[in-house]
């Protein structure tokens, strides 16, 4: 790589709202999205909620001259809805499906059936290794009484761990997607603190778009206005996050969002707003002292967010265990009822009623059994995440005791660059 190396990366992200039969004007929106992506010729287009593989195949065909590389991440019953289109060859790819993702019996919410996941692409751009991640976390249906909070925090932790462990040889990390979390939410802070990723909206020098960078805004005709009532300006739940390793400097030159319309002021491409970022990566000046720049005191936000997440997962675990116990009683009740019905039927009394009650009793036992198993699995999944957090907290405490930097996400690239800028 040349010493005066500089890389420009143009990235597009959109939650496409592509639910077959349910999402309005899907075909037209996909067509216009394809036209726009072809016209703009981004380096990478990362999409969520492309639930129909036909839509992906349509886009793949349409975009193939501009974006020769594409991938659709398959998982769950329906699919993860994630796909990518790249102007550059994809060197490697894989995915991780979150172990917790809502409840199968919440059919009207449907998240469980999607198999929410994070997809990873490895690209080589001008000798620089870029790990690009695309994800979509569990939706938030009721912010006041969010029954999925523990699952979303666990997903954020799994996402952070997946990025942390798979990006160790990458020069640059990019994460795009619909996190279904506001910027100040626990999962969002956990993700950013553990991975060291920076928020393009907060970092950019030139922002154009919706107020406060919101990605669901009341101006969008597809948005459920009632849901946005508590947030008159909208909410910011879709993100472009990035970091580089030491030796590089990254800056977000421009970040743009759509504003409730498509980029040509027509009907919107989705119920979410699109994000378009232009990132610049270049070598940072050599460092005098290459030791980590954070001291233990500066890591306290990480420790505090780890603790908060640990508590939240504990609450989720208690809830999961409560449900497992409750369904255990339901199974017991169903078995008791079945035994009673058998006795009644054998005795010849109220035979028709006994036969009639057979179905709900069997249903009680079988349904209860499935729900019991599910919540046992849920508790195990939450416990797993909690144990990992506990381990990190333990290591952080040990490091603090000896006055060392506990974590390997020191964001050198950005900080060095900031200092270089100041000079």
């Amino acid at each position: 790589m040349k010493p005066n190396f500089s890389l420009r990366l143009r990235v597009f992200n959109l939650n496409c709202w592509g639910i077959p039969y349910l999402s309005k004007q899907r075909a037209d929106r996909m067509k216009r999205l394809g036209d726009f992506l072809n016209m703009e010729s981004f380096d990478l287009a990362l999409l969520e909620e492309v639930w129909s593989e036909q839509d992906f195949q349509y886009l793949r065909q349409k975009l193939s001259p501009t974006y020769p590389a594409a991938h659709y991440f398959r998982s769950g019953v329906i699919g993860s809805g994630l796909c990518v289109f790249s102007k550059h060859p994809i060197q490697e790819l894989t995915q991780h499906v979150y172990s917790l993702n809502g409840y199968p019996y919440m059919i009207h919410h449907g998240d469980w059936f999607c198999g929410k996941a994070v997809g990873l692409l490895v690209l080589h751009l001008s000798g620089l290794v870029l790990n690009a991640y695309v994800t979509h976390l569990h939706a938030e249906y009721d912010r006041q009484k969010d029954i999925y909070l523990a699952h979303r925090v666990a997903q954020a932790w799994e996402l952070a761990q997946f990025i942390h462990h798979t990006s160790k040889a990458a020069d640059m990390v990019l994460l795009c997607g619909d996190l279904n979390m506001h910027p100040e939410d626990l999962g969002c802070c956990l993700l950013k603190e553990w991975t060291g990723l920076r928020d393009a909206y907060l970092e950019t020098r030139d922002f154009k778009g919706s107020e406060e960078g919101n990605t669901m805004v009341p101006q969008n005709c597809y948005v459920n206005q009632q849901e946005l009532e508590p947030f008159p300006l909208g909410i910011r739940i879709d993100y472009v996050l990035y970091k580089v390793v030491s030796g590089f400097y990254i800056s977000c030159k421009t970040l743009e969002t759509t504003t409730g319309h498509d980029p040509h002021r027509g009907t919107p491409l989705s119920d979410h707003e699109a994000l378009m970022a232009t990132l610049y990566v270049r070598h940072s000046p050599p460092q005098q002292n290459p030791s980590p720049v954070h001291g233990p005191a500066e890591r306290s936000p990480l420790i505090s967010v780890l603790r908060e997440a640990w508590t939240e997962l504990g609450l989720g675990m208690a809830q999961a265990r409560w449900w497992a116990t409750f369904t255990g009683y339901v199974i017991g009740l169903g078995l008791l009822l079945l035994a009673l019905l058998c006795i009644v039927a054998a005795g010849g009394g109220a035979r028709e009623a006994a036969i009639l009650l057979w179905t709900p009793s069997v249903g009680l036992v079988l349904g209860g059994g499935v729900v019991y198993l599910f919540h046992m699995q849920e508790a195990k999944g939450l416990y797993r995440a909690q144990a990992e957090l506990q381990h990190v907290l333990g290591r952080a405490r040990e490091a603090q005791d000896v006055g060392l930097e506990p974590q390997p996400a020191p964001l050198l690239g950005q900080q060095e660059g900031d200092r270089a800028e100041e000079q």
Copy 2:
């Protein structure tokens, strides 16, 4: 690190056969296992089938003076059964749960309920970064008609991908576990070819133990002799695999297995044999030409095994889709039956029979629905693995066309060392 640096690593692996209520003399075996591990003081003890968390806690307490670090990997309904005990601090840890792991309705096999997984530990030993993995793949119940073959191949691929993507910054990689695959099996070849891991049994200079290194042998009193009838010497399904990156040289000085008894010739510790390896890592001499040593022609075993795995996953996918279609018909039949029963009951004819048939019809529809969803998910999971293989094959073909090395597992450490040895 000093130039004449040398690291000795003593590793223990055992599938502990720790099924509560079912495994014979479990408590006694756990006690003796703990005594043995304390006496031998390995660097790392990696265990599988520790299904009861109480057993893990018992071992943790017993081993804490010798192995201060320990972790239990939780997943699924029952758990992954995986745990580790380490003499050295565990710097980082995480796990990946396989997305395919048998069928929930095969209750007598039970694998689905375990949530089979791979656990990862990152250790820092004398300045060397060691990624140690422990895993347990789906069991093989009938080698002639193995209905889980596609799942095991998909698991082997997920395992290989997890290792490949998480070990890029590691100096040394170690994988121990019960792969439930014979050395020549497709999944085993796929794993070794894609990751570049080497088999301690084939590499060691000094082997002591069972014939052909087998880890389930007829001499073991806990082994089901009938299952081993086609293999009079036993089978080798538990492994110690390893590799180092360029700049290091690794050798397996000794590999030992138990031989149907415990190490003191008493009753065995499990129905599997334990593996005990002593590995040496040292710097390799500097290379004259650091370019990859494999040419495209030499990568043909990888391409051939990728193709074979692709085909096997395709067969599994066809089978999954057949089951989804079949259960679709069953659901249709159940709905038809329900409609007929409603008409009969409403008309007043054969009312008791109609009510009696209500349960199996509802069961047919609900049960069919669950099985349908499961097989849809299975097909998606297999398709996902197949698409990843397809991508690797595509990249390999492109690399062959331009005469380049397609894959990043060139095993430089071992090969350099081998050449150094020859000099």
